[in-house]
């Protein structure tokens, strides 16, 4: 019995729980804020559960909206963990290696949020088991959404496994280098590409929605994820460095920032290529882009968002382009925030809604998220933040060496 409880894993769990329940005042204020957010989300969802999806701004012409937009954005964030994993594990690049664990923690929180966003978006959450692999009758290989569920689940399992194994190894003061572990890590890299590609394919495979039916969509998803994911990481890492005494080497940040600069360039290039193709062709397909950037029939709700996203994206690129500004903490963080805003708008609003506007029958319904949608989304982001807070708290303690396995207890008892 004692052997069981003395095993490093329970020890690790116990240690983590101790960490979660003890902390500074700021920590508890933060926790309280998150719990409030979650409560707001639960309240919002209770309304939606009672009334149906009619309490959202979604209607037949625009049948997906803020929930699915957030889902898409967060899949990108989750995928971006890979950018930290590739150099860390494949090239044994020391400065990033430990941060990769945090990347995986971020991926885990992002995927939890993805799952929640899908859950709140469906009309029959009571039948959600129908879409779970092995329980329901999944329409694979035909349905991309079914694929997406499969790869997201695999990705979640992989990341949980990798992060846990790595943390427990560090916890025990060892290097994480079991053969299986390496295979898991290597598998998680294409899986990261997979989740975002397949998510892109969910949209991409709909020829009736020309706004999405461009082969550049999946590559654009990936590069924008390589912008937004690391941006979140950089901001979080700096916060953690300040608040949680995370040992963060500047080279790591600079390296990430440099990779982001490439990604941003490609992202802008891809966007420009799309804009050129649509505007120069000037077919009906242009309508969607027109709605996004200029509005149609006096309906212009998305216009400010679209331009904000575009301008923020360009500004962030300029800030990251020059080594001087990308190594300056102020401009670096400004750039991160800008690119985050840019990609969040692009994925959360500017991807989904214009795809539906005008609708397949030419109807222009101006969608905007309802209060319920905003509340529920806030709650889900609260859950994600809570997951990240708790997991990263344990992870950082392990990485710092604050949380280490106790030497085997003497067999006195």
């Amino acid at each position: 019995m004692s052997a069981l409880t003395d095993h490093p894993f329970p020890q690790f769990v116990r240690g983590s729980i101790r960490l979660w329940t003890h902390g500074s005042r700021t920590y508890f204020v933060w926790l309280a804020a998150l719990v409030t957010l979650i409560a707001v989300g639960i309240y919002g969802y209770s309304i939606q559960f009672r009334e149906g999806l009619v309490s959202t701004g979604l209607r037949d012409p625009v049948s997906w909206g803020f929930y699915i937009g957030n889902f898409t954005f967060l899949v990108g964030v989750a995928a971006a963990a890979v950018i930290l994993v590739i150099p860390a594990y494949v090239y044994h690049w020391k400065p990033i290696k430990e941060l990769a664990v945090l990347g995986e923690v971020l991926a885990i929180s992002a995927i939890s949020m993805c799952m929640l966003f899908v859950t709140v978006d469906v009309g029959r959450p009571d039948r959600l088991l129908h879409i779970m692999p092995f329980i329901g009758d999944l329409n694979v290989p035909s349905s991309l959404l079914a694929w997406d569920v499969v790869v997201l689940n695999i990705y979640l399992v992989l990341n949980l496994g990798v992060a846990t194994y790595a943390l427990v190894s560090y916890f025990r003061g060892r290097e994480a280098k079991s053969k299986l572990f390496v295979w898991f890590v290597l598998a998680s890299i294409p899986m990261a590409v997979c989740i975002h590609t397949v998510t892109a394919f969910v949209y991409n495979g709909l020829p009736n929605r020309p706004f999405w039916n461009a082969s550049l969509l999946a590559p654009r998803f990936l590069v924008s994820a390589f912008c937004s994911g690391p941006a979140i990481m950089l901001i979080l890492l700096q916060i953690l460095r300040r608040k949680a005494r995370l040992d963060l080497k500047p080279e790591a940040i600079w390296k990430i920032a440099e990779l982001m600069a490439y990604a941003m360039f490609v992202n802008l290039f891809f966007t420009a290529a799309e804009v050129f193709k649509e505007t120069y062709s000037g077919t009906h397909h242009l309508k969607h882009m027109e709605y996004l950037f200029f509005g149609l029939e006096g309906k212009t709700a998305l216009v400010p968002w679209a331009w904000t996203s575009l301008i923020a994206g360009i500004a962030a690129f300029l800030l990251f382009l020059f080594p001087a500004s990308r190594k300056n903490p102020v401009t670096l963080n400004l750039g991160c925030v800008l690119i985050l805003i840019s990609v969040f708008i692009e994925k959360g609003v500017a991807l989904v809604v214009p795809g539906f506007t005008p609708s397949v029958l030419g109807e222009i319904y101006e969608y905007s998220p309802s209060k319920v949608e905003l509340m529920v989304s806030a709650g889900i982001f609260g859950v994600g933040a809570l997951v990240f807070t708790l997991l990263s708290r344990a992870a950082i303690a392990v990485l710092n060496g604050d949380l280490r396995v106790k030497p085997a207890t003497p067999a006195a008892a």
Binding site: P141, L144, P190, V193
Partner: protein, 323 residues
């Protein structure tokens, strides 16, 4: 970790990803569908109405209550008239001129049936009247003692045109025939009308229905406004002159109202063909069994076949209104 692992594992993973996508894309094998193949291999039999089609006869909706037409129209059959005709032959044979009785010298007067006084010039002694004359006088004398054509004799609106015709110098015999030719009192209305039309056409005068039939068009036919190639066509191009309970084809053969589609089909051949094979007009019933075809006139007013504008049903709810 050996570099070889990642060199094999990563491409392997990506290949798997692509295979998945390819599998999703291969859901459909391009080619003819079952029905497309059927269309290309089966020959469609020549046009004829489906064996299980039935042609019902809903009463034409625009003539409620006045069918059959013979309720009013006497048709082409001998006039069923109990009232005796005035024997013009007898009068003319004795040297009496039309104007002696009918006052046609006075163009303002309507030379219809003479007043009783005129007759009384010769027939003043009731005792000497023959039975026929007595019956005749009884038939034309109204309650107030004035004389008038019995209603059934009158083509009223035509009689209103007497003055016009006299002013235009139309001889009595042009319409009424020579008095010696026959009873002359009451030409068969149809025969008369054909004569009217022939003369009007010869004189290049208007010859539409309402040129003469002013009052009657306002009564049972009030709802009939001919708006169906009216430049080329009149009532009797479709309605049988001799038998108003039938229609007539262009070749003169009568056709029943139940078979009116044959009449319509004379001009509207494409629609007729389409209707026979179920591509024109409304059908109800069973797609694989008995189905009822509507007559052309069930949907189209034969006198104005173009569809009238309809009241649309309410619009669907806008998405903004859904709650």
């Amino acid at each position: 970790m050996s570099p070889s692992i990642h060199r094999t594992a990563m491409p392997l993973g990506l290949v798997l990803l692509l295979l998945g996508a390819a599998a999703a894309a291969c859901g459909r094998v391009e080619g003819r569908t079952a029905w497309e193949a059927a269309i290309h291999t089966q020959t469609v039999p020549p046009v004829k109405a489906p064996a299980d089609a039935v042609f019902p006869v809903p009463p034409p909706p625009f003539t409620p209550g006045i069918f059959p037409c013979s309720q009013c129209h006497e048709g082409g059959s001998p006039v069923k008239d109990e009232a005796p005709a005035m024997p013009h032959k007898l009068h003319v044979g004795r040297g009496i001129e039309c104007a002696d009785c009918h006052q046609d010298g006075d163009a303002e007067a309507d030379p219809r049936i003479p007043a009783r006084d005129t007759c009384d010039t010769c027939h003043g002694e009731p005792d000497k009247l023959s039975d026929g004359a007595r019956r005749y006088f009884a038939a034309v004398t109204a309650a107030d003692g004035t004389t008038a054509f019995p209603r059934r004799w009158r083509t009223r609106d035509v009689s209103q045109q007497h003055v016009k015709h006299i002013k235009a110098g139309v001889a009595c015999a042009s319409c009424h025939g020579e008095p010696g030719d026959g009873p002359f009192a009451k030409p068969k209305p149809v025969t008369l009308m054909e004569r009217c039309v022939a003369c009007h056409e010869a004189q290049a005068k208007p010859a539409k229905c309402d040129t003469c039939h002013r009052e009657t068009t306002q009564k049972p036919h009030a709802n009939i406004v001919l708006n169906h190639a009216e430049e080329q066509r009149g009532c009797l191009d479709c309605h049988d002159a001799a038998d108003r309970d039938h229609l007539r084809l262009a070749n003169g053969s009568p056709v029943s109202f139940e078979q009116s589609f044959k009449l319509c089909g004379q001009c509207h051949g494409t629609q007729y063909r389409d209707w026979k094979i179920g591509l024109h007009g409304k059908r109800t019933g069973s797609w694989n069994g008995r189905r009822e075809y509507r007559l052309c006139v069930a949907c189209h007013d034969p006198h104005g076949p173009r569809f009238k504008p309809m009241d649309p049903l309410p619009r669907p709810a806008r998405p903004e209104e859904v709650r």
